[in-house]
């Protein structure tokens, strides 16, 4: 982004910056808004049912998990818990994938125009968040229908816990988007690695199961319980379920605090890495 007449671009070994370095909140917000707008419109203009697909995919996935887990393990979560888990997982997985490509996919822009580069992963994450918030409406509608048919516990929205959990989840996703966007510019095989790690992460996180299912394995193995809770998705998904459904307890062990702290830590790490890596973006794209 360029700035008003009084300012100047100073370009040194450490990268280009605008001086004086006062906040240009308005211009930054306008550009962020325009980029988010582009993400959302670009996604939904391709197909008339764009948003519908964004909701249908996790619903289908939830149905599949419920059926197969019952076949394989003999028992499964009640559908409502799977629905909450899958919608939140979808938000994370999409943010990671889209965030990773947010700089490489805009190579033209990055090479030709000077603007704060972090706005690209930010816009990508923000578009995913908007998508998630809209799909939450569908999620609660589905939960309501399930509860009415007696297939699930009642719906209860915790006005404090729900926004807090969504905010922390967004923070985690943004941190990973920054980290992976920078990594993807420097190492183009990041996407293969991320694909594998995402599926591993899906299975070790309580998306299609919850911690009750793990109880037999966790008993007597405190280190395993610590490891499970250190995965930030464990306390976040448990928190989201507790914030949305009746009868889900939110009693995190001390380890959960460490797991939750992973979210801001990821954001701090992502920001630091991105800041350093962005100097060479134009050379590598």
């Amino acid at each position: 982004m360029t700035a008003g007449s009084a300012s100047r671009i100073v370009n040194t070994r450490l990268g280009a910056r605008i001086e004086p370095s006062g906040p240009r909140v308005r211009a930054t917000l306008e550009l962020l808004g325009a980029l988010v707008d582009r993400e959302l419109k670009g996604r939904y203009k391709g197909s008339a049912l764009g948003f519908l697909w964004a909701v249908l995919v996790p619903l289908f996935m939830a149905a599949i998990y419920v059926v197969f887990l019952r076949m394989l393990v003999g028992r499964a979560l009640t559908p409502d818990r799977v629905v909450v888990g899958v919608f939140a997982w979808q938000f994370t997985a999409q943010s990671v994938q889209a965030g990773m490509a947010s700089v490489t996919g805009n190579a033209n822009l990055v090479k030709k125009v000077f603007f704060p580069r972090w706005l690209l992963p930010a816009a990508s994450t923000l578009a995913q968040l908007i998508n998630y918030l809209l799909s939450l409406l569908v999620q609660f509608a589905v939960l309501g229908v399930l509860a009415a048919r007696g297939a699930a516990a009642g719906v209860s929205v915790d006005p404090l816990l729900l926004p807090a959990a969504v905010a922390l989840l967004t923070m985690l996703n943004f941190g990973m988007a920054l980290l992976l966007a920078a990594a993807h510019v420097h190492f183009r095989d990041t996407q293969h690695l991320v694909g594998v790690l995402l599926s591993a992460w899906f299975f070790v996180s309580p998306v299609m199961y919850d911690l009750d299912l793990l109880r037999p394995w966790l008993a007597g193995r405190p280190w395993l319980e610590a490891a499970v809770w250190l995965n930030p998705l464990t306390p976040l998904l448990t928190g989201l379920r507790a914030a949305s459904l009746d009868g889900v307890a939110w009693l995190p062990p001390p380890w959960a605090a460490a797991g939750l702290a992973v979210a801001p830590a990821t954001l701090a790490l992502g920001a630091a890495v991105f800041r350093r890596a962005q100097r060479h973006f134009a050379d590598l794209l």
Partner: protein, 399 residues
């Protein structure tokens, strides 16, 4: 907007080093593999020790052969490329026409893309809303402005992008070879807009291979070669130096030279209507080419010939002293012959002159230099077309 005496662009010892990676994109595996083999990547300097200042309100041209570092220079000024050493300071709002429409999204309409592109250029949304009609009018898209840009032709694409950039009121405008696209009428409108920006004291940095445009618009020219700024000065002499030293022989032009050398073309000087040495000539005015020759012995009835091609190889005209009915009995020692094109009927562009000396029956080629001498033509007349026809109107008579 620059006050007189302000420096708009200031570069101090700027260098840019690239690592040579080959064609493959960078990968973690590749990095690890070369680390294990202990191989350090090759490096090359795209630009080194560049120090220059562009005063506010001036238009600077950057010329040089392909791959000489011109585009790196622009990227460093724009802030998109990080220098390896040194510092570039650019004052005011910078807008680059480096690649028009870089920020366009194919699924968005022209209108939506205008706002997106403007946001990328740092123009407040309010200003865009106010100027939208002017932008749309300049782009001349009519109702297509509400269509997704994926349905646009490349010309429409460029027109819309230029319209946004031209309306963005930049203090510093960076232009990289973009005016080569679009139809002639649009190019003329772009050049008009550039003149208007010049009148309003904006600073322009201009990379172009169109030497006639550089000569016409620029106050000063930087000549870049192999990453170094080798000359800086008035457009005409700097362009002349570029043409003499870096084009033609060993330059980007495919040249050929052969012959027995019984007579040699020793030295060639291009002169304008006033007899001054020049590289850019004006349509409708004389152009002189002084050819100095050197003969080893006495040559009976030699013929001097020339031909002109456009830069993309179209054969425009060829003739010689025999065709022109100029009989040369014999030559010996050294001498000079002058070729005059008057009036020059070539239009704006770059051309290549070939020279030849051969025997009267074409049996012996003494010396031929094919496509050896580049020169540029500027057309100040405003007339359009492939050639300048010496036309005249008789004023209408009443009754």
């Amino acid at each position: 907007m620059g006050e007189a005496g302000d420096i708009a662009i200031e570069a101090r010892g700027v260098g840019k080093r690239y690592r040579v990676r080959g064609h493959a994109p960078p990968t973690l595996f590749g990095r690890l593999a070369s680390a294990i083999r202990g191989r350090r990547p090759d490096e090359f300097w795209a630009l080194r020790e560049a120090t220059f200042e562009v005063p506010a309100g001036r238009t600077f041209g950057v010329i040089g052969p392909n791959g000489s570092g011109k585009s790196s220079l622009l990227g460093l000024v724009a802030g998109t490329i990080t220098p390896t050493c040194g510092r570039v300071t650019t004052r005011g709002r910078v807008c680059s026409l480096l690649e028009l429409g870089a920020g366009f999204h194919p699924d968005l309409t022209g209108r939506e893309n205008v706002f997106l592109n403007a946001a990328l250029l740092g123009i407040p949304r309010e200003d865009v809303r106010r100027r939208f009609d002017r932008i749309a009018e300049f782009a001349g898209l009519g109702p297509f402005i509400e269509e997704p840009v994926r349905h646009y032709s490349s010309g429409m694409y460029v027109r819309l992008a230029f319209a946004v950039a031209a309306e963005s009121e930049p203090d510093v405008l960076l232009i990289d070879e973009v005016l080569a696209v679009g139809d002639v009428a649009f190019q003329l409108r772009c050049l008009d807009r550039i003149r208007e920006l010049q009148r309003r004291n904006r600073t322009l940095l201009f990379v172009s291979h169109a030497l006639q445009t550089v000569e016409e618009f620029c106050h000063e020219v930087l000549l870049v070669h192999r990453g170094s700024i080798v000359a800086r000065g008035e457009p005409a002499p700097t362009i002349l130096r570029y043409i003499r030293e870096f084009m033609g022989e060993g330059g980007p032009v495919y040249t050929q030279e052969f012959g027995t050398r019984e007579v040699e073309i020793a030295d060639v000087t291009f002169r304008d209507a006033d007899g001054r040495e020049a590289a850019v000539f004006e349509t409708g005015w004389p152009m002189h080419v002084d050819v100095r020759w050197r003969a080893r012995g006495r040559i009976e009835r030699p013929v001097f010939g020339f031909s002109v091609k456009t830069a993309n190889g179209l054969y425009v005209f060829g003739s010689n002293t025999q065709i022109a009915g100029v009989e040369i009995r014999a030559i010996e020692g050294e001498g000079k012959i002058r070729l005059t094109l008057d009036p020059l009927t070539l239009m704006s562009g770059q051309y290549l002159l070939s020279l030849a000396i051969h025997s009267w029956d074409h049996a012996r080629q003494f010396h031929r230099r094919e496509d050896w001498y580049p020169f540029a033509v500027r057309n100040p007349t405003g007339a359009l077309g492939a050639f300048f026809l010496n036309s005249r109107w008789t004023p209408p008579s009443q009754g």
